[in-house]
Assembly symmetry: D2
Homo-oligomer: 416 residues x 4
């Protein structure tokens, strides 16, 4: 696990962070009933309860069993139920059937979390004496970052599940009064960026995933990048201009999906004539379903839940293109740039390929990232659902091009 820079905070600091990250998962689940937390609305998504258990299983299997003397496994069956994709760690419950696990109950999973949390806490409380701190600190770091990834998925997956309910219930009520963005979106501006050799990838000094390494040099051509994300008002113009009916704007695979699935707008948008709007006393016009339920489309809000195909088609329509992941990374601190994180992940025009000299993690985490490096596209940035402090400029998120249940939008780029 040499590619991860061990953070080596004092044990107390790590203990605090462990508690706060673990607490956040439960806080995210709190607005949801046991029924909500049990279901799975599509094979790519997972139940909330499963996320709560799987992240716990990771600590139990990778940290406690090898490193905590005398640790008692909570329930031997859980290893089968809550492994996700680690072939090396044994057979697994089939992914599409995660929603059938009414047992263990939510209460049992919560007890499982407490059991593991206490054991980790005890392990950390004793750290420094004969604990193998060199070994366990990076595992905890990895486990916490892993849990943060699942915290984002808790939100994206439950949003998808709720979107399948014709009542379109809100994950939680919007704050009152609802935050309103400025009524007029500032015009997008192009920021010019020079070409040349840039250093990309994780620079060390803190945690990173293996796929961000090794840091290396990359060559760029001069380019321009938009100072903000494409917003819903702009995307509505693309729709109004026939964007979903014009094959010349689309990649071939994308156009096939548009036709096969009948795409006409982003998945959580409700057209003015959507029959579900009557249940919501909705006024005229487009609406968008989100974590706060059904709300009128806000033109200034970044468009989200786009597939790569839609992002690329929009860019083509706008006479621009998507940035490469290195253009994005090199522009990260550009003067005047905004919305680089905290709003929506940003599709890039870069396939998810290994960096030069990339080697996966060794050991149990070897399957973490490398084996997914085909058929996916890189997203950069971070979203409203990304836990604070989780992302960084070198972070490489990735999804298949048709995925559109993430908070995924786009920023334009062009050649100079």
């Amino acid at each position: 696990m040499n590619l991860i820079q061990p953070a080596r905070p004092a044990a107390d600091e790590l203990r605090d962070r462990f508690q706060s990250v673990r607490a956040l998962s439960l806080a995210l689940a709190a607005p949801l009933s046991a029924e909500d937390q049990c279901i799975q609305s599509m094979p790519d998504a997972s139940p909330t309860k499963w996320h709560l258990a799987h992240t716990t299983w990771f600590f139990e299997t990778v940290l406690l069993q090898p490193h905590a003397t005398g640790y008692r496994v909570f329930d031997a069956a859980f290893a089968y139920l809550f492994n996700s994709y680690y072939e090396a760690l044994g057979p697994r419950h089939p992914r599409p059937q995660r929603g059938l696990l009414t047992r263990p109950s939510l209460e049992a999973v919560q007890a499982y979390r407490r059991h593991v949390d206490e054991a980790v806490d005890a392990l950390l409380a004793g750290a420094g004496e004969d604990t193998d701190w060199e070994a366990i600190a990076p595992i905890i770091e990895l486990g916490l970052n892993h849990e943060q990834q699942h915290q984002e998925l808790i939100l994206t997956d439950i949003l998808h599940a709720l979107s399948c309910n014709p009542l379109l219930p809100a994950y939680r009520a919007a704050p009152t009064p609802a935050l309103r963005l400025a009524s007029v979106a500032p015009a997008m501006r192009w920021l010019s960026r020079p070409g040349g050799v840039v250093e990309v990838g994780h620079a060390g000094g803190g945690f990173s995933f293996d796929n961000e390494t090794p840091r290396h040099a990359a060559l760029l051509q001069p380019y321009a990048i938009a100072d903000r994300l494409v917003n819903c008002g702009e995307y509505a113009q693309f729709i109004a201009d026939g964007g979903y009916q014009r094959p010349e704007l689309w990649l071939s695979d994308g156009w096939a999906v548009v036709q096969a699935q009948g795409w006409r707008h982003p998945p959580y948008w409700l057209a003015p004539d959507d029959p579900r709007l009557v249940h919501h006393g909705a006024t005229a016009g487009w609406h968008v379903f989100g974590l706060h339920g059904v709300r009128p489309l806000e033109p200034e809000a970044p468009v989200s839940q786009l597939s790569f195909y839609e992002a690329a088609a929009y860019a083509e329509w706008a006479g621009a293109r998507l940035p490469t992941e290195f253009e994005w990374e090199a522009a990260h601190d550009a003067p005047g740039i905004s919305q680089m994180s905290g709003q929506a992940w940003q599709w890039t025009r870069s396939s998810y390929d290994p960096y030069p000299g990339f080697r996966p993690l060794s050991g149990v985490a070897a399957e973490y990232n490398g084996k997914f490096m085909v058929g996916q596209l890189v997203l950069r940035g971070g979203s409203v659902a990304t836990p604070a402090g989780h992302a960084r400029p070198s972070y490489r998120n990735f999804f298949p091009p048709a995925a559109r249940w993430q908070f995924s939008g786009l920023r334009l780029a062009k050649d100079l």
Copy 2:
């Protein structure tokens, strides 16, 4: 609705029966958590919560809205959510997505039941004055029989859902000490039956579904019928004799399913080497998963959860055949016959075709049975899951030939 013989009990008697049938549904759901009651394990099955709501919707829509003055609909959205297949009653939530309805919650569905139960009770309490008793009594009869059908499905559907959980949890604990059948199964005996004209179908005097009518004459050839059902011990011999590997025993469609689905034994049987048995401290030999969890195979117990294809292949292997539905009905009171109901539904060699002169119910219930009369086979009898008093000798249950999540077994017959 002239084909249903109106039962016309006194209003008080019907009121009592309404209460007891409705209470049984809740009692059946009682051992299940809210999570258990929410999920759907395959498109043909439905969540417990959905059954509880759908049967309630039937009374609200067919009885209360047209006939209870001033009735206030509990929630207008429920008509969309809990309609099952009545095209005439408007659009419906897609059947395969019933398991995504975490909202309304189980509590809300329970409140819905109370709301409707009170309104029905009030309607019946006032019956006799200006109530249209002629109109509402048959609707209540139909609604209660409809609910009894769903009571059986509550059990068969949750058993399927629990069978998908690798932990194989029990629906409820077996009674202690467990009831044990006699250790030696009596040898099956053949009962000879004469040919000739017999009257079949519902004779009037009590409730029936439309598909049991009109009563009519049928011609039989002399035949013999088994005095009891095929049991698990006999079926295990069929398996041991290569029953699932011998195409000559199977109907062509059945053999195709055997191969495509990899059938090797009934769906809830666990082979001696099944890895799930280790969680259950199981001894050697075959086991069977049922409402009381995983238990050693009982040779004397009727085999159940068979598809028609398996029943027909077994009969072929045994040098016999399945009875026709009229042979079954004509033998209903034969001296020495046993297990005609209360154990397992019995596949017949009769396709589910309309009786001569059959006309579907008129009005809202017109879609009740007639529109399913193609591609299905008739089952006769009744099972351990059938509510007491629900079935009768003329009752025609029906399922597609590959269905095997019901308590469905077989009784042999042969030509004389």
Copy 3:
């Protein structure tokens, strides 16, 4: 093979018939190129070349190999390639891949036919001496009737294949001048028929398939049956009246297919706005594609290529029903009845179940009919594609309810 009444014509007579039936297969293939004869347009259909080879394989395997001393197999690989569904006769080339057999070439298959024909001829020429005439005569009868069944399929299958070509080429040109039916269809008349016991099934004295036996008594209620088939003009009224948009007319499974497949009219009908009509210089109005290519709809012609679902929905719309197979058979010689054969097979309201006392053929032909007795409906009569002399009043044709590439129409019936 005791259920087949051996025809026992003199050997010479059988020899003549063998030659003429075999010649007809080639004559039916004659208008088709080698390319036409090679392709398979859907899994249910087979290439012409395959039909020519499979019928030949039947004679080679069932007749010549066991009964012709010193017979030399034409090519050992053909047993694998041209077996259709006989599990007992070994593994088979997968049905959906029959269209990939460019080799053996059409010429090789024609040589295969000559090789087998000569061997059969030699066998028959020597019949009477030490030939086991008792054994071979029924096999030849069966083989010729089997070949006649495939002759009909040659036409229905190639018609489907040609219908998939956007050029809609004709199987062969229409005779000049084209035969025109009377310009005014006679009004349909109802023929009243008494109830009571009738004898149905094959009466002996000539060939029959096993599924027509045993002859037995059946009970009928009084009924009326239409004196002719439903014609295209009448069916066009059903379409114009919204027949394909009204779920209440359809069986549940049928309505699901209508929606899933987008059915709007019979499969070979071309709506007035069909873009393929421009290639055919077609005038306004409905057209129908058939063996003679695209021609204006003839209102008096029997409607054909209907599924059972469509036939049943039409009958419902017309306030009538389909006859049962026994009603049909009992009316076969009714005064005034017409179009009983030679136009279109007639869907009945009878599932394809075994007759009382039915036993399949023994030996190699045991798989002939019995193993298909589930999930299909009986058709009676015969079509324009049925070879002369092949059908008879007791003949039971059968297809699944969604099949609609046969010459299948309907005749109405009703209760009295």
Copy 4:
């Protein structure tokens, strides 16, 4: 079409080349019967006849109709039948149904070719006077390169079709005596290559496709590349070492395909116990089906028909990796390197992304390459099926990662 460097040979030279390229297509089809040329064995492959017609359609549509005064279209329907994927050029016959086009016949397609060839010849014969040479020369260049691509597909597609025939017929007989490679394969050697900036992409001066442009600088790390391709003997060791049963060697998507499709070896390899070998009088050991039929595996021959997943798994097993497309291109003229083309296309570890500054062709050919730039991997080199003179070092071939009907193999690389 500015990115293509117009070749501008004298008209006579282009006329000669036109004739020879067009003649080669017919020569490739010559060993095949009309039946062979008609069928389509999977949606990704096309019939030979379709390739012959489609390449002709391209000249008719893009060259003759806009540029040849008075050109008479051969058959207006062909535009619909033989367009492949050009959305801008109108609706198209569905790709998976190309094998159903028995009409037009092969003879008609051959006549179509003659008709177009004569028109092109006449156009070129008159070139120089008032012909718009600037416009037509690049179109002819593009059309000929397009036809060469389809010449390769003619071979790969018919090989797939023949592989679906259990007789495994040869495309054409092997030369006698068969060429035999040296009996001992030279050991693979690693060639060290420096890092630094290299120029990649098409350098101008001759034809190229748009996806090879613009030429640009790329940064490489020091690396080593194998001097030859991985051969069948080496790949057999991977199989023998359990390569297809070890998930840790595979990308996640690849492992899913291995399991779902039951992959155990390359698609045209026949294991020693393959039942089809009995038809070929084969001796013990592995065999490989190819254009010359079934032949014993030659250990020294490059392995071919691999998917990207298999190539990557092999490289992982060998402790190496695949080269990037730029590493491959930079090593093209390395001393000691061999088998860069003419044997098998070589999968690279580079996704098929656009080059910096890439713009698709304008006009009718705009859909040529750019719209496929997602979800595919780049292959470099050229195969035994690639027409002479077609490939070049900057050539970017591309296929999805699961494709394995091409002559696609691999060359190893590693970091230094």
